[in-house]
């Protein structure tokens, strides 16, 4: 692409994004380390909200609000619902981490190192101009809607079938008065 400016003079977008990213990563860390199940879900909310902010910075406005609507509004509520149905206790539970923890940490760290290395190597010079003077905004509802229904209709329909299947599956799984016979 065009000439990438130095990393040492971040633009406003970058600063905001970095702040949001730090929040997201920190919240994600808390999600996987906190000793309270419900706190994990709430930290997940924070993380997802921060991510939505990241999307906003990246001009993906529509996706950002979908993220808030679906994830924060529905998914996390569902998660909390599940947590409560499975009798999560208030306060710390000592056994939220399995014995696999060290292995998991090693694997995750290795993944992070490898991916960061590879990615940093590959996209060091990639740059996109997000300033209003830059390329046209792409993430408006109009643009996304047009894209979905112009080019992505078939996957969209397939997705609706998938959703239906998931709906029926969830109902069948969770109802106890249906007996397979």
């Amino acid at each position: 692409m065009n000439e990438a400016p130095s990393y040492l003079s971040p633009t406003g977008h970058e600063i905001v994004f970095l702040l949001l990213g730090v929040v997201a990563v920190g919240a994600a860390l808390l999600v996987v380390t906190t000793r309270q199940v419900v706190h994990a879900a709430l930290w997940l909310v924070v993380c997802l909200g921060a991510l939505a902010g990241c999307y906003l910075v990246l001009t993906a406005e529509f996706v950002a609000w979908v993220q808030v609507l679906i994830y924060v509004g529905a998914v996390v509520v569902l998660l909390l619902f599940g947590i409560m149905l499975t009798r999560a206790p208030i306060g710390r539970s000592a056994d939220l981490n399995s014995g696999n923890r060290v292995v998991a940490a090693v694997v995750a760290l290795a993944t992070a190192v490898v991916l960061v290395t590879v990615v940093a190597d590959g996209f060091r010079h990639a740059y996109v101009d997000l300033s209003p003077a830059g390329p046209v905004k792409q993430g408006t509802a109009e643009a996304v809607g047009a894209a979905v229904f112009r080019y992505w209709v078939l996957p969209f329909e397939a997705l609706s079938v998938l959703l239906l299947a998931a709906l029926i599956g969830a109902i069948v799984l969770s109802r106890t008065d249906i007996r397979g016979r």
């Binding site: 706190h39 996390v76 509520v77 409560m84 208030i90």
Partner: protein
């Protein structure tokens, strides 16, 4: 500088509206409910028919001791009221009162509103869970179930309007509104309003706080200012719901003779009155009835409305 001033002004205005309107609605509820029950309601505070009752209540709430149960999860318990309240405040920022009289005109305003309102229920779930009280947890779970169920018809009904207007921007929708949308979107109006009531957990959809069985649901353990915040959230919710319904289905500021903002307020208060009226008139729905209403009643109706909207839209085009 002017921009900043403008922004500040708008925010202050919104904050004022946010603080004032719920109080008015609350007072209205006190009085209207009393009279509907052949009572007088508050009569003393402030002198004339107890007009300052809610202020007095507020003072009282602030004076009360802030009790946190020993078994509670303190942090979550503390922030839950804020989580319940703030989304409504945020939503108010995008609701237009008159032509150009809007906190900020978002491109995807409707979406924003729905998304942010969905966050509000988190507060009630958090409160319910963190109280360390079985009734509260029950209430929280009922809240969650209710929210998940009613979110769908709410969004569907709203999307019907968006479809009709061809925009997600709230001022845009109001501008596109014509009087004949009333019959056209009547089903959507009903569905949206009822689902909104359910999202607010107002009677008759107050299963989550049903005081006769689970005392006050998520709010059982709350006292003082935090409880007041919950109450405020409820009334703010009424305002937001009424305002949204007005903007989406009733044409917002459109109306003859009177200036736009006045029309908006009139419609908002009329709807708020309906909210109160419904509360007084109907008994609480049972949990299964509640779910049945959502899935067997509102969702099909909303889909029907969508279909109607689509057909008419295509026919007009």
């Amino acid at each position: 500088m002017a921009e900043v001033l403008d922004l500040v002004l708008r925010l202050v205005l919104i904050l004022a509206v946010f603080l004032v309107l719920p109080l008015i609605v609350g007072q209205t509820e006190h009085k209207v409910m009393a009279h509907m029950q052949s009572r007088l309601g508050p009569m003393y505070a402030g002198g004339f028919h107890g007009w300052a009752q809610l202020i007095a209540d507020g003072v009282k709430f602030m004076q009360k001791e802030d009790v946190v149960p020993a078994a509670a999860d303190r942090r979550i318990f503390s922030i839950a009221p804020a989580v319940a309240l703030v989304p409504y405040l945020v939503v108010l920022a995008v609701i237009p009162i008159g032509p150009g009289l809007v906190g900020t005109d978002l491109n995807v305003g409707l979406f924003f509103v729905l998304a942010v309102m969905g966050v509000g229920v988190l507060g009630s779930i958090m409160a319910g869970w963190s109280s360390g009280n079985k009734f509260s947890v029950l209430g929280g779970m009922r809240s969650a179930a209710q929210l998940v169920s009613y979110e769908l018809p709410l969004v569907l009904a709203a999307s019907s309007v968006a479809m009709a207007a061809g925009t997600l921007s709230l001022p845009g929708i109001v501008e596109a509104w014509e009087w004949w949308w009333l019959p056209w979107q009547a089903i959507g109006l009903a569905v949206f309003f009822i689902a909104g009531l359910a999202e607010l957990r107002r009677p008759p959809f107050d299963m989550p706080i049903a005081e006769s069985e689970i005392i006050m649901g998520p709010m059982t353990e709350y006292t003082g200012i935090r409880f007041a915040l919950f109450l405020l959230a409820e009334y703010a919710g009424i305002v937001v719901l009424s305002a949204l319904t007005t903007v989406l289905f009733l044409g917002g500021w459109q109306g003859p003779l009177l200036p736009g903002p006045v029309w908006t307020l009139i419609k908002v208060f009329a709807l708020a009155f309906v909210v109160i009226w419904v509360r007084v008139s109907y008994p609480r729905l049972r949990e299964d009835q509640l779910q049945k209403l959502a899935w067997l009643g509102l969702v099909p109706l909303a889909l029907l409305q969508l279909a109607i909207t689509g057909v008419v839209k295509v026919a007009l085009a």
